[in-house]
């Protein structure tokens, strides 16, 4: 007899994602679902989908969902969380959504120390609308609105939201993780879980920035995209926990109420 050691998490709906082949949005969805499963909060979780490739997230998670206007997910989450303080509320936002149009909303949710979890998917581009420049686009990176590469004198330099938000006292947990290989995915999972745990512990605002690929709009194969992320994004967006409120459990101590299907690999 054998034992299933890896399967689809329950918080993920049984449908096929619309994402492009090799798009790491899918990986990040799974990690969020795993965290929800493991913390046993599926029945009391409310997700907030943003506008971006992940706009249909409400179809992919087996939890209540609200679809928010572009950039406004943190405001919508605030409205939900204040009315239902014992529920688990998270937003799932792209870099156009969070770092551009939604700048005010994310900054002020963090300032208020809003007790929510934010999953911030940074793929250095506007995926859904066909590959325009994001504030996170790298210098020299070609996009449809930065043809010939982003030029700092015209469009500035990449914004590091995690560093910026870490300046705010209301931010309890801020981490940057990546999806470019399995070891990093495992670390990303721990950070995401911790960000949900921070909410359970009423620590305040928690955000995980996840570096992600957009093979389609980067114009690469999915495998090339992983490499590109590692080689180009990591130097600009260093990984790690940027801010941790004292008292947040070490990853291993996070309470687990449903079977974990993870093993340590690194």
């Amino acid at each position: 007899m054998s034992v299933k050691v890896f399967e689809r998490p329950k918080a993920l709906s049984d449908v096929i994602f619309h994402y492009c082949p090799g798009c790491t949005h899918g990986v990040i969805h799974r990690l969020v679902a795993e965290a929800i499963d493991e913390l046993g909060v599926q029945g009391k979780t409310i997700g907030v989908a943003s506008v971006g490739c992940s706009v249909l997230a409400y179809n992919y998670f087996n939890v209540d969902f609200q679809q928010a206007a572009h950039g406004r997910a943190p405001a919508v989450a605030t409205g939900i969380k204040r009315c239902l303080p014992d529920r688990t509320v998270f937003t799932y936002q792209g870099d156009g959504d969070l770092a551009s149009i939604g700048t005010a909303e994310i900054v002020h949710a963090a300032m208020r120390g809003e007790n929510i979890t934010v999953i911030f998917v940074n793929n250095a581009i506007y995926g859904m609308t066909g590959g325009q420049m994001a504030p996170t686009t790298l210098i020299g990176q070609s996009t449809t609105t930065s043809p010939g590469g982003r030029k700092p004198e015209r469009a500035g330099r990449p914004i590091r939201m995690s560093e910026m938000l870490s300046q705010l006292e209301g931010a309890a947990y801020i981490a940057r993780v990546s999806t470019h290989n399995a070891a990093q995915v495992a670390r990303a999972k721990q950070a995401i879980k911790k960000a949900f745990q921070a909410q359970a512990d009423k620590k305040g605002f928690a955000m995980v920035e996840v570096l992600s690929t957009c093979p389609t709009n980067w114009g690469m194969t999915p495998r090339e995209a992983l490499k590109w992320l590692e080689e180009n994004m990591l130097p600009v967006y260093p990984l790690g926990e940027l801010k941790t409120e004292p008292g947040l459990p070490e990853p291993s101590a996070v309470k687990t109420t449903v079977p974990t299907r993870e093993v340590k690999t690194e």
């Binding site: 050691v5 290989n181 079977p259 690999t265």
Partner: protein, 89 residues
């Protein structure tokens, strides 16, 4: 680690360590990139969505160390991993 004790449907547990839900696969090759044993490849045939799905030959199943790396990288949760009971303990 708490184990999931459900039986694998449609196959004995010993001959299949890594299982692909073929119709979900988009042939992105991220699992191939991840597998340290280099046993995953894309099949010749198309699945219902028009992609060449990832697969591991019956012989290569044995080489699988159930390291989970492929499953962890798969964006479409195509992959399930099974471990012989004694290994999981």
């Amino acid at each position: 680690m708490v184990r999931d004790s459900r039986q694998v449907k449609g196959g004995t547990s010993l001959d299949k360590k890594v299982a692909f839900d073929e119709d979900r696969c988009k042939g992105c090759e991220l699992c191939i990139e991840a597998c340290p044993k280099e046993i995953i490849h894309l099949a010749e045939h198309f699945n219902s969505k028009g992609f060449h799905p990832a697969t591991v030959t019956a012989e290569d199943q044995a080489k699988c160390t159930t390291c989970l790396l492929c499953a962890r990288m798969c964006p479409d949760t195509v992959i399930e991993i099974f471990r012989p009971d004694r290994v999981a303990r």
